[in-house]
């Protein structure tokens, strides 16, 4: 039996998902070590390998989904962008409540300031902040809470015959967000972000691949966009008057914060391992809210699920090492 076959046999003690990531690397080290020491390390090496493999099998859920590195990274990036969106929406609500949004006082818009989706927006921000601070358990918990709450919100606003409870309603008068493709598109992105992030371990791995000190630029760019948007919208109302409501509402929207944050995110991801694959996945997911404006909800959800699956496939493909060739390591 050749050394390579012997070691491959021993490496079968490891779970398949672990082998797909590590086996070739470990085989390289095992063969190089045997080559240097002139003899195989014998029983003690075999015991160490089998013990580690069994420990991993016992401590890992057998049916657990292994999140490809680029997919988890795309999940981190997507949740950061949703955090920027949440910050923009909460700020817009806050300005409206304070009467600082530039609307004429006679409109009384401050009476209707509370966006009922604020619990989801707050959870987006908690998720983003936890990711930035390296609190991966909190990030994963907040991401899934946002996904569950956002999904329930879609059910609540889509229900036409029953009045379902929703914790985001504030006061007697509140916005009535409607269901539909646009809402479904954003719900899909929230769920996709949580699913792609995986557990705390995969979130930590994905975050560790991002260049430290650089990815704070993402929320910083979002905040700059937010400040510019808020000032520009209020100023535009004063200058253009109420006849240009649509134009000013466009200025007030999340486009500028998201574009600036996306630009910062792209520069960060281009420097990260698996960053390019993550960008492809993120770009595909970015088409969901656009497509949502012209599609029916089921079509958007179906398309979005297909994109997430494609993201996983792309990530798996990017992670897979090249086929091994016989020869010295």
């Amino acid at each position: 039996m050749t050394a390579e076959r012997r070691y491959r046999l021993l490496l079968r003690a490891y779970p398949r998902s672990y082998r797909s990531q590590r086996a070739e690397e470990m085989l390289d080290v095992l063969l190089a070590t045997e080559d240097r020491r002139g003899t195989w390390s014998g029983v003690s090496e075999a015991v160490a390998l089998v013990r580690h493999g069994i420990a991993l099998r016992l401590h890992r859920p057998a049916a657990g989904l292994s999140i490809p590195a680029s997919t988890a990274l795309a999940g981190v990036a997507l949740l950061l962008m949703l955090a920027v969106l949440g910050a923009q929406q909460l700020t817009a609500s806050g300005l409206r409540g304070l009467g600082l949004d530039g609307y004429p006082e006679a409109w009384g818009t401050h009476d209707l300031w509370a966006d009922p989706r604020w619990p989801v927006q707050a959870l987006w921000m908690v998720t983003g902040l936890a990711l930035l601070l390296g609190r991966h358990r909190t990030a994963v918990a907040a991401a899934w809470a946002a996904a569950a709450l956002h999904s329930w919100h879609l059910v609540v606003v889509s229900a036409t015959t029953v009045d379902l409870p929703w914790p985001g309603n504030v006061g007697d008068s509140h916005w009535v967000a409607t269901g539909g493709a646009a809402q479904a598109g954003w719900v899909l992105l929230t769920v996709a972000g949580a699913a792609m992030l995986g557990g705390p371990a995969s979130a930590a791995r994905a975050r560790s691949t991002l260049p430290a000190r650089r990815w704070w630029r993402v929320p910083a760019a979002g905040l700059v966009g937010l400040a510019l948007t808020s000032v520009a919208a209020a100023s535009a109302y004063s200058l253009l008057g109420i006849g240009q409501v649509r134009l000013v509402e466009g200025v007030r929207g999340p486009v500028l914060p998201l574009v600036l944050a996306a630009a910062a995110l792209t520069t960060v991801l281009l420097r990260a391992a698996h960053g390019r694959s993550a960008l492809v996945t993120l770009g595909l997911l970015g088409t969901v809210p656009i497509a949502a404006r012209w599609s029916d909800p089921l079509g958007v959800i179906g398309g979005g699920v297909a994109l997430v699956v494609a993201g996983y496939a792309l990530g798996s493909r990017a992670r897979r090492p090249e086929p091994s060739t016989p020869g010295a390591p």
């Binding site: 690397e25 390289d28 080290v29 390390s41 160490a48 089998v50 930590a204 391992a273 090492p321 390591p329």
Partner: protein
């Protein structure tokens, strides 16, 4: 109070202080740092690397394909360097205490840490 690091962990972190290393380089450097006393098994090394990576003490610096096989290079993080510094302080304090007691007993002079130094 932080849990004391195990010896293989200290050796791996020490080996990575000067420069990032791949798996085989790490094994060789651990052997060199320990003056040949510790020869880590590959299974032990990767169990330790998994744990250190999940704890954020070590991270993957790069991946490359060499002779058809994936080779990852690992580096120590600032958190890893901090944990190693704490452990080094702890070991130094222990060595000072032990040395002082041995001198009080009159059975030891200045203990040597040099490899192979017979006393």
């Amino acid at each position: 109070m932080n849990k004391p690091l195990q010896e293989p962990t200290v050796l791996i972190l020490t080996a990575l202080v000067d420069e990032p290393l791949h798996g085989y380089g790490l094994l060789a450097e651990v052997e060199r740092v320990s003056a040949g006393r510790v020869r880590l098994r590959v299974g032990t090394l990767y169990a330790a690397l998994d744990r250190l990576t999940s704890e954020g003490l070590v991270e993957v610096e790069s991946e490359e394909v060499v002779s058809g096989r994936l080779r990852r290079t690992y580096r120590i993080t600032s958190a890893g360097a901090g944990a190693l510094a704490v452990e080094v302080d702890r070991m130094a304090a222990l060595a000072r205490t032990a040395g002082a007691r041995l001198r009080g007993r009159g059975t030891a002079g200045t203990p040597t840490l040099a490899p192979g130094g017979a006393r």
